[in-house]
Every structure is written in structure tokens, then in C-alpha cells.
Symmetry: C2
Subunit: 401 residues, 2 copies
């Protein structure tokens, strides 16, 4: 552990960047200074002295005196370029950019190995909850069987306000944006993409497999209505957007879908912008972690913790990933470990029965029709739900029973 | 991170020791072999080959080829001798012995510093929950304001069975012992001592202060009756034995007492042998960790995780403790940071009003008398409750309102 002052180059000064700035100013232990902040928008008024800012990324990337690059921008392509250049320069990186990480995981893993440099990203999943480092360090030799969680603060916030306060979907989404919980493109939240990116990261650290975004099914809450909330309430259930990766035989089922959860579940009481993660292992049994999943300070505090870890040269070991690849002797395709060929029981609300075309229904258990709304509860082929992923014109709301 | 096989010397082969043995046999990642196990009881039949066992501690302590000593015995004095000798020999130690740690913390801290050797003890608090390492690493620069938790699996198990299954106290305690949740001396569980020892450890890692057992107030659940359970139920509350350390101004209030908790609390739904810990920080806000708090495999898995951490030379940094001592320039008395001079509102059930003598009552809010039971709800001087600590002949049940 070094006691030296560390010098940071920061990309992005939005919600999380400003949160980090506040926390660094109040942290008593960590001696870290932000040397330069690269931002995009010349016009935007900034809360701190102009001397900190640059609009040219080279002003940070070309400096030789920085210890850590902290990447907190929105655009995942730009972020990838910044992060890869920093890693190739041998500079450690902290990021909270789950989209960039999930889209480029294999390449970023290789860059870390090639340059023997750290890329750490606790703030990218679970907000303030220290889940990645726990999976990496604490559950490093534990035979995990499952991880599941509420990973998107905005969706949970919207669902909570709809259920507990009868607030309408659009208004709840607007408030999530106002509070700084939502991504700048809220579609990433409500259609489940943000949850899916985070799930991809947790799957790497839980089981050692790197999945690509197109391999992971996700459906969001964008089509939810009060009819669905009422249906759940009547049965003593709540609707939660749950990401899950669990082992079935030698394979893994990995998806992010709305689920009905009952009162017995630890996730039932995780409300508003909180996130919750359940980890199940053969010996440690079930562990649940709950904490703020979004917001400037909570995410900033996860980023701070990563910066602090770099002061004592912390680096993810990726032990599970390495072990799996060793077993498969280089000839390894994570996709082959993914199970997408199974039946799953879902509730589907629809306006027009034609919208169900394309979903392979194995058996219908319930069917409800009325002037106002229709739904079925049916067992369907999991694989056939992929067509609905990211489909902007779909009106279906699908929820795992 | 080394890939070498590590050699363990194990003291104790009770509940946790056997759990560790099972887990080590099934762990795929960690290459660790138990070389020798020191046990006390010659007569006891052992599940594994006799060649592993010795009855002489010197057979382990004098060996030069062991990488790690794992101390899992009951007797805290013997344990202290074993652990200090190992540390002085420069051998890293893993222990789950909260009593030994809490009773000797200052000396054990000094031994680690003097010999530059690791003593780690995740299994000693929170069972399978990775709380100590998170406090040490993840919340290392966070301004924590409070930590509170259910830290004793047996008490929580007893309280849950009494409340949900109307099981009588004695029977529930017997079942906790049968399940291997209870300490071999159950008084340590039910009178709150086990909780207090764990609280002392969490206080070190949360705030950097080392308290002595005699400085920390604890009252247990040994005098609870169905009248108390019914009182709580009628008000929609549950009784939980809660350990808390929180900052008030520049000082800390640290105690372990039964509390009434309401449905809004994350700890309300932590049932049976589960433990739960809430950590509050200025920026990360509130985080809750829930998991199995007792039992052979859950605690064994925490011990395994510590052994694994030693393979990459992990050691607690005690950053908060060091910082505090630096600030006070050697002239440091943790006790001076402890606040025991405040008023606290409690429910006290009693048979004979004379039993309340010694408790300084500031104001009585409620008083209930009947042929069967009596109680008061009153604000009392916190300090005056110390007389009840560990008092075997007291019949009072005290619960924070």
C-alpha cells in the first residue's frame, strides 16, 4: 500500500463524475487529486474551476504523470477507445461503463493480460453494492450455482412508484431521470439493456464465461401497465426486472426478464432505486446484498473504492475465467455453455393476438380476455422470445411466473 | 497469486473444522491440503483417517513446512496461545474465534505489526457474509456513520421459532444446539456475549477503535418470554438481538441489545440462523448484507475464503485504526471515544419491581401490571444498564424501543 498522492485523469463530468468529485473532496483517507477532466460540451456551465477542464482527450491520454484514468462518459465507443489506449499505455483504468465493458469484454480482458495492467469497474454493476469484488475475491473458490438480482435502479424506481403510489409509467420514468437514476437514453434502462450489460459482467465474475450482448435474452418493462401491476397485487406478488445466471447441469441459463416475486423473496422488499443481488453457493448458501443502485454519490463511492484499490495495486484475477479456459485448452466458446433450449412459464399481456405470433407456445395454462385487456399464462420456448428483444413496436408485456 | 499447493495445520475438528474439511475436498480452485489436525479428545470417533490427528499442539507449531495455521478451537485462552505463537513464528493464521480476538485484540494487532504477518478472520463475524473484508477494503475511504446487525445465528433462530412457530424458548435453544448453530456454551449466545465479541471486531474495521469486552454493554435474550413476543406482535414488530456501533458527534455508541424492529427495517425479514448487517456511509448510503450466520458449511466457506486470500498474501491493512492513532500521536485511548452517557428508551419486563433497582429511570412512559406479567416502557440512563450485563440471576428482559 503506497501513501503517495495519486493523480487522476477523468473522462466525463456528469452525474457520477460530479459525485466522485464531491466524495474525493471529503475523503479523509485517500490522497487522490483530479488533474484534468475531459468533457465534450463547451457550452455547459461547470461547477468547478475551468482550469480542470479540457475538450481534447489527448490532453489526458498523452500525459505521462497520471496514475489512473477514470472513465465515466456516456458514449460506449468513445469510452472503448479511451480505455484501450490507456491500457495499452500501461495506465490503470477505473470505469463504470457497463455497456462498453459488455460489448468489448473479450478484447478488454486480453488488453489487461497483454499489458499486465488493471481495469476495474465496481461501479458498473450494482451501484454502491460491492458485488464484483466479492464475486472475484470472496467467492473465488466457492462452487456458485446462481446469481440473480435487481440491477437497474430506474426500472425498480418506476415499478415501485407505480405499485405503491399509483404513479403512471411516464411520470415515474420522468422522475427517475430527474433524480439522476436513469441513463441518458432511458430506452437502455426500460428495455432491459442496462440490466443485461450488468448481467454479462456478473456472469464473467460468477462463472468465468464471457457472453456477448446478442447472446443474452432481455425484455424490459417498457410495456407494463396498471393491469399488470393489479394482476400481481391481487396475487400478493410484485413485478421486478430480474437478471439471472444459474447453472443447470453443465450449462448456464442467463437472462434478464420481468419476474413476479413473492413476499418470501429477499428481492421483494428491495424498493425504489435500490438494487439487490442474491448469490447462491454450495457451501455459503444464499447471500443477499442490498444497496443504492443508482445516483451520483452511491455510484461515485464505488468508483472511489476502485481508485483506492489501485493504490495497493489491486487487479481482478479472473480466476474462474482462466480455469475454464485452461480446462478447454484454448478451444473455448462461451456460447456453447449457454442453454437457450428450455421451456419457461410466462405471463403475456397483449392487445392483439397476432402479436403473439413468433412465440412458440408449448401449453396455455390460463387465458383472460376482456374489452380492456387480455393475457395468457403459458409455457413457451425460451428461444422464441429472442424476437421480442429490443423490438420498439412490440406492445407485449412478458413476465416470468 | 501463487499456484502452489499450500499446507495447512488445523486446530480443532468440530462443526466448522469438519465443514472446512468437506469444502476443501470439493473446492476445484484452491490447492490446499490439511497436513495435521490437533484435537483434544482422544476418545472421540473421527470421520477421517487417524493419521491426520495429533493431540500435541507442538506437532503443528514446531513444523517449519506449514503455510497457514487455521485455528478453530473452542477455548479462547488456548487459542490465543496457539495464534500468538504462530504469529511470532511468522506463520499466517486464519481463525473464526471471535472471543479470543475480542479479548486480545490490541495484543494480536501488535503481533501482526511486529512480525509483519497476517491474521485474518472473516468467519468470526457474520458467518458466511463477507463483512470484515468489505469494511476493510471496500469501505476503506468511506465516511461510515453506522453499522448494525444480527450477528448471532442461534439467537435469531430461537427468536424466529418462538415467534413464527410458538416454540418454547428451551426447545428452540435445544434445536439450535442440535443444528450446530450454538456455541458449546450456549450462555455465550443467549446472554449476548457472542454478539458483543463480533461487534468489537466490526467496530475495529468500521471505525478503527479497539474496545475491550468490559467496555461494551450487552444484554441477551435469556429472559425472553411469550409475553414479550406477543407484545411485539400486537404492534407489528419483531424482537431481534441487534449489535450497533454508530457515530454521534465525535463519539461512538456501541452496544448489543434486544431491539423491537418494524417491517420497514431490512433486518425484520432476516430469519432463523441468518445474519444481517447494515452499513451506512455518507456517500454509499445504506447497504445490507444477509446470509447464513452459523453452521458448519457457511462458516467453513468464510474460512476457506480467508485461506484463499492468504495464497495471494492478503493482510488486513487496518487503515482506519492506523489513521486514528496517527491523529492522536500514540497517546490514544479508544475508551475515550466511547459514549456511554446518554438516555435510551427501553421496554423492561419484570416480575418483582425490586429487580428494577439500580436502573436509573429518567421517565416512565407506560406501565403495565397484571397477575401474570408487568412491564414498563421508560427512558433510562444507558450507563445504569451495565449492572445487568452477564447477571445470571436477573429475570429482567430489556428491549430497546
Amino acid at each position: 500500500m503506497t501513501e503517495k498522492h495519486i493523480k487522476l485523469g477523468l473522462f466525463g463530468f456528469g452525474c457520477v463524475g460530479q459525485g466522485l468529485y464531491d466524495i474525493l473532496n471529503h475523503s479523509q483517507g485517500l490522497k487522490a487529486d483530479i488533474e484534468k477532466i475531459c468533457v465534450k460540451d463547451h457550452a455547459k456551465k461547470r461547477k468547478i474551476d475551468a482550469k480542470y477542464f479540457t475538450y481534447d482527450k489527448e490532453d489526458i491520454l498523452n500525459r505521462k504523470d497520471l496514475d489512473v484514468i477514470v472513465e465515466l462518459i456516456d458514449n460506449s465507443q468513445d469510452a472503448y477507445e479511451i480505455v484501450s489506449r490507456a491500457l495499452n499505455n500501461g495506465v490503470s483504468v477505473v470505469t463504470a461503463n457497463k455497456k462498453m465493458l459488455a460489448e468489448n469484454f473479450e478484447a478488454l480482458y486480453q488488453l489487461q493480460e497483454k499489458n499486465n495492467v488493471a481495469l476495474i469497474y465496481e461501479g458498473s454493476a450494482g451501484g454502491s453494492i460491492p458485488i464484483i469484488r466479492n464475486l472475484e475475491e470472496y467467492y473465488d473458490n466457492e462452487l456458485l450455482s446462481s446469481i440473480r438480482g435487481l440491477l437497474n435502479g430506474s426500472c425498480n424506481y418506476i415499478l415501485t412508484r407505480m405499485e405503491l403510489e399509483n404513479m403512471d409509467y411516464g411520470k415515474a420514468l420522468g422522475m427517475a431521470q430527474e433524480c439522476g437514476f436513469a441513463e441518458s437514453d432511458p430506452w437502455l434502462d426500460v428495455a432491459g439493456y442496462d440490466t443485461m450489460y450488468k448481467l454479462i459482467l456478473l456472469t464473467v465474475h460468477s462463472f468465468g464465461i464471457i457472453l456477448k450482448p446478442e447472446q443474452v435474452l432481455t425484455l424490459g418493462i417498457q410495456n407494463i401497465s396498471f393491469d399488470d401491476i393489479t394482476y400481481a397485487k391481487e396475487k400478493g406478488l410484485r413485478i421486478k426486472l430480474i437478471a439471472t445466471a444459474h447453472k443447470v447441469g453443465d450449462k448456464f441459463r442467463v437472462y434478464a426478464l420481468p419476474h413476479f416475486v413473492n413476499k418470501e423473496s429477499d428481492l421483494y422488499n428491495v424498493l425504489y432505486e435500490n438494487n439487490g443481488v442474491e448469490v447462491e453457493g454450495a457451501y455459503s448458501c444464499k447471500q443477499t446484498f442490498v444497496g443504492k443502485g443508482a445516483g451520483s454519490h452511491p455510484t461515485g463511492s464505488a468508483v472511489l473504492s476502485d481508485i483506492s484499490a489501485l493504490t495497493y495495486h489491486y487487479k481482478y484475477g479472473y480466476k474462474k475465467l482462466k480455469k475454464l479456459r485452461q480446462q478447454h485448452k484454448g478451444n473455448f466458446d462461451s456460447g456453447k455453455l449457454l442453454d437457450v433450449d428450455f421451456d419457461i412459464k410466462v405471463y403475456i399481456r397483449f392487445a392483439d393476438k397476432n402479436d403473439l405470433k413468433g412465440i412458440e407456445i408449448v401449453a396455455v395454462e390460463e387465458e383472460f380476455k376482456s374489452a380492456k385487456t387480455n393475457y395468457i399464462v403459458a409455457t413457451v420456448k425460451f428461444n422464441s422470445l429472442f424476437d421480442l428483444k429490443g423490438k420498439q413496436d412490440s406492445k407485449l408485456f412478458v413476465c416470468v411466473v
